[in-house]
């Protein structure tokens, strides 16, 4: 681990941990992450017994060299974006810990768990009400969006 910056060291440790003991239904593309430690792809499966059972999603994590002081940029990518009141059709996620409520004590693992639980607690599959407008006008980077967190129940 010599010669690594603290941020690289931490990412390397998180990668090892996520690889060895991933949360249920979550797996990280290790080869891709090892090529570029600042961009990971995480595969996520819909939990049995929820609306997303049998579906699988892909999450993209982008880090800066200021991580963990700077939150990761997390979006859904690929052809299956979950239909959920907090997930826009371009993959952007409205989740407070990804921006305003980020803390360096959080990790990729805890972000994954938050997203899994966000999906699992969904009662009705629908897009956010402002989806069409947001997708047309938003910045490419969801961290640049000034989020208005709708509600905590879903």
């Amino acid at each position: 681990m010599a010669g690594m910056s603290p941020s690289e060291r931490r990412l390397q440790k998180e990668l090892m941990s996520l690889m060895k003991e991933p949360p249920p239904g979550v797996s990280v593309d290790v080869d891709l992450a090892e090529q570029n430690l600042l961009q990971w792809i995480v595969h996520m499966e819909g939990v049995t017994g929820t609306l997303y059972e049998g579906e699988s999603f892909q999450l993209q994590f982008k880090f800066t060299n200021k991580y963990p002081f700077d939150s990761p940029e997390v979006t859904f990518i690929g052809n299956n974006i979950p239909v959920h009141p907090h997930v826009y059709s371009n993959g952007h996620i409205c989740l407070s810990i990804l921006t305003d409520d980020w803390s360096p004590a959080l990790s990729v693992q805890s972000v994954c768990l938050s997203i899994v639980s966000m999906l699992s607690s969904c009662k009705e599959k629908k897009r956010p009400s402002d989806n069409a407008f947001y997708v047309k006008t938003c910045s490419k980077n969801p961290k640049k969006t000034k989020w208005w967190y709708h509600d905590d129940s879903v």
Partner: protein, 377 residues
């Protein structure tokens, strides 16, 4: 040997001769009024041909004339060339490099070093650098502990010739002397001093029987040890090398209630410290513990994302050789942080600074946490 060769050597010492089957070649430098000219001269019987260079361009016309004349030997040619170059060459500022003759110092250094090796033939290891500027010596004490010292040679003609610049003893005094043997003896006297020997004994004992987490690899210079007392709780003991037997300085690091408990225990017992007893057993009595926990066999396998005592921001134990030094005061959180990491985070939130402290929310439990400003910033 042709008569001119000696002349050439004396007059133009920087010119070399090279004979090939076809012709003779002379190359090297000649120095005129402080300027060096690069010369490459080819001889063909009595004719000489000079290779033109950028420096010589100014004199091209005169040099061409020379090539039409015939000379007996290269010295004659070079004399003529010198004439041309010095006539044309502008008066040059005298910037002759001053070459300091250190030969006598080199001789003395080598003599001193050889004498030292002959006199103290049992020196464990010693090494003198190729430029004769540094000498490294490693010697063992009676307990077979290694002690190293680095000595610099002073070529400045001022001050003493030898100087200790680095040694692995606490209380690093600067020592210098004109004699290497005297300096070495001074160093070994300090190593063999009973006070230090006793301290090495005590620290060796601690390193052997306790779980030391800092320094990572203790050297003879380190007079402190951070010892694990319990999961998440450690203590830093700092000894006074002049007086190892008396109560060392003790600081606890860990969850606030545990630290408070141990501070109370120490304040209850510190008067009973007996300087004539074994230091380690006195420490055990002072803390009212049965013994110090031993270092566990480390298994990399069950490593957690954040292990006990690791910083909750950078997820590691050591950051720039420092261990986490802030603990969240919230008893149900008790997370560790490097003050560097915590300060960086709290500052990025524009937290309230107050004198030498910054206050904000703990990244883990969001309760109030204080952090002193790191010394490095």
């Amino acid at each position: 040997m042709p008569a001119y060769e000696l002349d050439l050597l004396l007059k133009y010492p920087m010119i070399m001769q090279r004979c090939t089957t076809k012709d003779e070649e002379y190359f090297g430098y000649i120095k005129i009024k402080g300027d060096h000219f690069k010369i490459r001269l080819t001889r063909n019987m009595k004719r000489f041909k000079l290779e033109m260079t950028e420096d010589l361009e100014k004199y091209e016309k005169d040099i061409k004339k020379l090539s039409k004349l015939s000379f007996m030997d290269p010295v004659e040619y070079l004399d003529k060339l010198t004439e041309i170059l010095s006539a044309e060459s502008p008066p040059h500022k005298e910037t002759d490099d001053i070459i300091i003759d250190n030969t006598s110092i080199y001789r003395k250094v080598l003599r001193e070093y050889t004498e030292l090796r002959q006199f103290y033939f049992n020196i464990h290891k010693s090494f003198i650098s190729k430029d004769l500027k540094t000498i490294d010596i490693v010697q063992l004490d009676e307990q077979m502990r290694q002690h190293s010292v680095k000595i610099d040679v002073n070529y400045s003609q001022y001050g003493k010739l030898f100087k200790i610049v680095e040694c692995n003893l606490p209380l690093n005094e600067i020592d210098e002397d004109d004699s290497l043997i005297v300096l070495y003896e001074k160093f070994m006297n300090r190593v063999d001093c009973p006070k230090l020997q006793l301290m090495f004994d005590v620290l060796d004992e601690i390193d052997k029987s306790c779980w030391v987490i800092d320094p990572d690899r203790p050297t003879r210079r380190d007079v402190y040890r951070r010892i694990v007392l319990d999961r998440n709780l450690s203590m830093v003991i700092t000894f006074n090398p002049n007086d190892i037997r008396h109560l060392p300085q003790i600081k606890f690091l860990g969850p606030h209630n545990a630290v408070k408990k141990y501070n109370e225990v120490v304040s209850r017992n510190f008067l009973n410290w007996n300087p004539n007893e074994d230091v380690l057993s006195e420490l055990v009595k002072l803390l009212e513990i049965d013994n110090f926990p031993a270092k566990p066999e480390h298994s990399e396998e069950d490593e957690l994302l954040v292990n006990d005592g690791e910083c909750c921001i950078c997820f590691s134990l050591r950051l720039n050789e420092q261990l986490p030094d802030v603990v969240c005061p919230n008893a149900s959180c008790n997370q560790f942080f490097h003050s560097q990491c915590l300060y960086k985070w709290l500052r990025s939130l524009n937290s309230r600074k107050c004198f030498y402290e910054i206050n904000g929310q703990c990244p883990n439990c969001e309760k109030v946490i204080h952090c002193s400003l790191p010394t490095s910033e």
